[in-house]
């Protein structure tokens, strides 16, 4: 028999929740309207009502282990209907931020990103400064004199330089994500029935690919479109990056690629998807406050970095084709800095929801898989 839980209220948690925009939890009187309207809530152990009570009581451990935190897609159907204006959507968003911070490896980075309201200049500025310094040190801050009319960025910043930064950065991010993911998986699995990880992966990926669950939310339909577009834009961009490595080192393609080259086409299509997705999401955020939910610094930080990565990426290409190399280089350096920022803060920013939500889905679907077999 499980030990009787002792509910110990936590002042600190309440304070942390308040900082993350979840202080409306205290308004909740447990009517359960939120769970009733939520189309994503499972029939057994539905949410968000339970999360609201755990948040009021500051039950950080139980929240960290609660898959419901990640099953919520923050459509805000609950917030729109909440009779107490307790904004469950915002509260769960704040809980996610706190869980990301709690599970972060190493912890101080979690806290640093968690404090994005204050730390964002550092988080964004440092990677950009790093690139400026690196390029200065390696003599790439100046435009080469003999730059052809159709130049490629490789002629400004050598690929080797890029890969020697991004491979370790990605490796680090993956390591940190792996550690956090392990912690999370352990919490999910603790005390529960056996779960087939691999059994869950395939259905989870197919769900994620279509954003099936997102479709059931009423209050924020445009968000699903934006989110799905953005996801596929990122997938396209990632695939393009991989193909380019092949193109450069295996196929020895000449840079810049023609606009008609399949790799280029894929890259540009991805860029278009990213622009559309980001525009929809930003517009949604700026729209009807109740449906969109509260904007927190943690949230804005992530959204802004993503948006700027996209903007600088697109601008880099435009600049290469139509503007001066000096300007193009400046944009490109900022772009590289932002991408590095995105890579390095992946496990600690809102970006980490990709990790936790995916794992939760795998756990949930793997559980279903395990119970079937």
């Amino acid at each position: 028999m499980a030990a009787i839980p002792t509910l110990l209220p936590s002042h600190e948690f309440r304070e942390a929740l308040r900082r993350r925009g979840g202080d409306t939890a205290s308004r909740c009187f447990q009517c359960a309207t939120c769970s009733g309207v939520c189309e994503l809530a499972p029939d057994e152990a539905p949410f968000p009502r339970r999360l609201m009570l755990l948040a009021q009581w500051g039950q950080a451990e139980r929240l960290a282990a609660d898959p419901a935190v990640w099953l919520c897609h923050q459509c805000n159907d609950c917030t729109v209907r909440c009779p107490r204006d307790a904004k469950p959507g915002d509260v769960v968003q704040a809980i996610r931020a706190l869980v990301i911070e709690k599970l972060a490896f190493p912890g101080f980075l979690g806290r640093l990103v968690g404090a994005a309201r204050a730390s964002w200049p550092l988080l964004v500025g440092l990677p950009i400064a790093f690139w400026v310094a690196l390029l200065a040190a390696t003599g790439h801050l100046a435009i080469p004199v003999a730059l052809p009319q159709h130049w490629a960025y490789e002629q400004l910043v050598p690929h080797v330089l890029i890969y020697s930064v991004f491979f370790p950065a990605a490796g680090w991010a993956l390591l940190a994500a792996w550690v956090s993911g392990r912690r999370f998986w352990g919490l999910l699995a603790a005390g529960g029935p056996p779960v087939s990880f691999f059994g869950g992966v395939v259905p989870a990926v197919s769900e994620i690919a279509t954003h099936k669950r997102f479709a059931s939310c009423d209050a924020a339909r445009p968000r699903r479109f934006g989110h799905l577009t953005l996801l596929w834009g990122f997938v396209g961009a990632a695939v393009t990056s991989g193909l380019l490595i092949v193109g450069i080192y295996v196929q020895h393609l000449a840079m810049p690629l023609a606009l008609t080259h399949p790799y280029k086409v894929l890259g540009n299509v991805s860029a278009v998807l990213l622009v559309i997705g980001a525009t929809v999401l930003v517009a949604n955020r700026l729209g009807d406050g109740r449906k969109a939910g509260a904007a927190t610094a943690f949230d804005n930080y992530f959204l802004t970095v993503v948006a700027l990565v996209i903007v600088t990426g697109v601008l880099s290409e435009v600049a290469r084709l139509a503007l001066t190399p000096e300007f193009a280089l400046a944009v490109y350096v900022v772009h590289l800095g932002l991408v590095l920022c995105l890579f390095l803060t992946f496990p600690y920013s809102k970006f980490a929801h990709m990790l936790y939500r995916s794992l939760t889905m795998v756990h949930q679907l793997g559980g279903a898989e395990a119970s079937r077999s």
Binding site: V37, A41, D43, P46, R81, R84
Partner: protein, 413 residues
Amino acid sequence: MTAAPRPLLVVGGGIAGVTAALEAAEAGRDVVLVERDACIGGRVLRNHHYFPKLCPPTCGMEINTRRLERNRRVRVLTGARVTACREDGGGYEVTITHAPAYVTERCTACGACTPVCPAKVKDPFNLGMAEVPAIRLPHPHAWPKRFVLDRAACPDGCHACRDACTYEAIDLAAVERTETLAVGAVVLATGWDPYPLERLPELGGGRSPDVISNVQMERLAAPAGPTGGKILRPSDAQPPRRVAFVQCAGSRDVNHLAYCSAVCCLASLKQAIYVKEQLPDAEVTIYYIDRRAPGRNEEMLTRVAAMDGVRLVKGKVAKVEPNGAALALRLEDVDAGRIVRAEADLVVLATGMVPRSQDTSVFATVIDEDGFAVERPGLAVAGVAHRPEDVAASVRDATGAAARACIAAGRSA
């Protein structure tokens, strides 16, 4: 001995207003009671029974009307409204506008006019759930016992009722008239309106005839109601097998009414008894946030909770959708920690009470955030005009309000 104090003005002829008027009059004060409707009784007479005793409101109103008839100190003005008010020397000068008296005091309620009336209107006494002739007795217990005419419904040039009346009691050319009165103090007892069903579309309000309000349920159970007291589904006039009561439909909800309407839990418990008494096999479920049965009313909660075929489920209903002939409900059952998808044949929304602040504004009344009137010296407030409360509490504070108005009026003399 100084001059006799000016009369009190009581605005509203529901249970609170009638009580305030009578209590002051029986303490020896002159009172003018103004009621906008054609007869007194207001909301309570539209109830089938009172909780927790399950007794008919007409019984108490019988005593009150007899008190009014015996007491020459109360002047009852029905079909009248206060349309202007000005403070004067510690009292008020008020203008009262009388609706046109198409049917005069000569009416004997003989009933000769009704059968010849060609026009039909939605019956306001039965909350629009039945059709009645344009000229009629408002309801079997109407006081004053005088017919009313919905003049707007008359076909052009029709005077069939006037021709049928032997007592010259019908004046189709009657016009609105006003009078001015000097009163010493005012008791506001302007009561409430039910929160409109149409504002609750997510709970099926206005989207299915079988989603009704608690006030409509009272009419369905009442012998003088549209079904003669039979509880039937409006859509097909069949007795419902499954009845769901949705508590806090509008109340305790910042999107609708931020306050608790104070009576809906007990009203639903009472209505659950109506259903079980008529339809013993029916399944009744009451979905609630908190069961609010203060004081002795707790007995009724205990009694209903123990009834066979009645369940009380903690969880606010989130959605009601028409689903074929039935209605589908979705909510979290908090005790079970599980989403419930229930079906019902009849859904009763426990809609709340909205104060009639439109009737208090003429007195430049301060209202609170929720529209309830705030008392000030010389302007006492009774009943639901100042807070959501049940009949017993309304009567209690109508008595206190009468005292305060007497005190203020005494000073003004």
